[in-house]
Amino acid sequence: MTVLNIVQAVNHTLRDEMRRNDKIVLLGEDVGINGGVFRATEGLYKEFGSSRVIDTPLAESGIIGISIGMALYGLKPVPEIQFLDFIYPAFDQIQSELSKFRYRSGGQYAAPVVIRTPYGGGIRGSHYHSQSTEAFFAHTPGLKVVIPATPYDTKGLLTSTLRDPDPVIFLEPKKIYRTVRGEVPDEDYTVPIGKANIAREGEDVTVFAYGAMFHVAMEAAELAAARGINVEVVDLRTLLPFDIETIIGSAKKTGKVVIVHEACKTCGFGAEIAAQIAERALLHLEAPIIRVAGSDVPFPYILEDEYLPNANRVLYAIEKVHNF
């Protein structure tokens, strides 16, 4: 066991898997000598050299495009997009090419690229270093979308991701890169893709969250407990394919659901969770489902604390469904 933060867990996992699998190649802007702007690839250039940790030209569509070519050839490319906000030049490559290669070739070709990218607000990054647009990717058949919230899950999920045969968008909650620390086993283990985690059991209300918002949900659950409300907190961990059994199971158990994400509300991933619960567990519900989400505005700068869900807003929603 070692106590690590999330970015260290990313770094150790990449290192360990690269030692095991010589097909893994890291590439991106500043990932080499600089070790990545968040230091996620620190020390890897030195250990694995310039043909496995590749500094690329500043062009996201190229980073993803050549990763696809490398994957078709049989390597396991792990491109880093410096911020999720900068991924859009590669959106065509992700939507039109990466996600469809296996399908369109009738299963002849596969492009199991792992795209790692920090996402989310809370770092005073304004529009272009803060957004949570995971729904775009969760809306794309052929991709998997994985989001860890703890150092333990970061290692376990990233290890699964690096061994997965399909393309994965691995979204790293940058606000908590260094603030969340936890014990991480030194030995090899995995956390399976597609399995949510009931991080806190409760009977009264379920809160679904992921990434940095998982910790906001936990904080709100503590506040609620002080007021006598027993909250169950489910960390979704994978958005695509999401864990329907755990989601429906918990919704049926408590009958009262709050969904938290920092992405803006309309067409956010919370809408999918709410719709699934409505389709499958309507008669178990005892209150309307409430989404606590970012506002439907471009990500702000100085008012980001007002934009982002916080424990008080989540608590308010918990009380609202509880007292319905």
């Binding site: 690329t56 030209p57 495009g65 070519g69 490398m70 369109r104 002849q108 070709y109």
Partner: protein, 366 residues
Amino acid sequence: MAAELAQVITPTGDYVEEMEPDISLDELRRLYRLMVLVRVLDIRGLQLQRQGRIGFFIGSLGQEACQVGSAYALEPADWIFPAYREIGAALLRGVTLKQVLNQYFANAEDLEKGRQLTNLYGVKSVHFVSGSAPIATQLPHAVGAALAAKIRGDPVVTLVYFGEGATSENDFHTGMNFAGVFKTPTIFFCQNNHWAISVPVEKQTGAETIAVKAKAYGFEGIRVDGNDILAVYRATKQAVEKARRGGGPTLIEAVTYRMGPHSSSDDPKRYITEQELEEWQKRDPITRFRKYLEKKRMWSETDEKKTEEDINREIDEAIAYAEKVPRPALETLFTDVYAEMPWHLEEQLLELQREKSPRGVDHDSS
């Protein structure tokens, strides 16, 4: 340098002897036959679409020399990243007529399981990668595969096809730039057929040529008569050898002409004059190669007649076969999205199967 147009055979079939590549007589005849096959298949394919027997067609009329000549310069282990007019390259690689027609009919035996528009085929066994309709996206793939080969120490070259319209796209720049930086063994083969649907090459670039663009990426760009199969072969062969030696990428601009519609949905009469078409018909790559072979006494009227008859018969057989093969099974709507089918696709498949069953919808799903 870039404005020069390399040519071995002139439109009249005359040739520059010292530039003739070293290709055996049998092979020359095989290449010619392949070009005729592409031409006939083009005509027959469009007919099938017009008759409503296949859904869509995208031809390569006039571009046969570009495709056959360039692909012939590759080794079997090299990879081809097509756009969508490269049937000549596919057939040369060993893709069979049966496979091609199965893809046209999008039937259960189609290697792509009926999932792609006509001519967006891919056959992994011959390193002919499944293409897509977005323009220029395949360029970075070709660079990535070449980089992977280089990292692994494999002597593999990648060749990527695209049109002059693609040179306006972001991924043209990106692909060329990455190839220049990483000195990948990649051949960028641009078929400048003068028209991107209805937009002429003059509206794609202010540069004098396409080939000249390579200079800015730090590698060589050459310009070749794309209707001259021997010139195309010669230029590509040199570029491939250079790439395999570690000399990095090359951009080849093959100047050719799209003598047919962009696709079965296009009417070129709206934007191309008859006069322009006639000018290019005089430079037809098949007529030119035939004249060359005739001058060399390698081809006769009898050969021509027999070849056309054989090809039409082979195509008839492939059509008759492909048309009888059933549609892909319902399950194939859901397979290959992922390596293993996740729960939500399994569920959606079951729902569709239930809805299609005579018992009707099962409402007891909660």
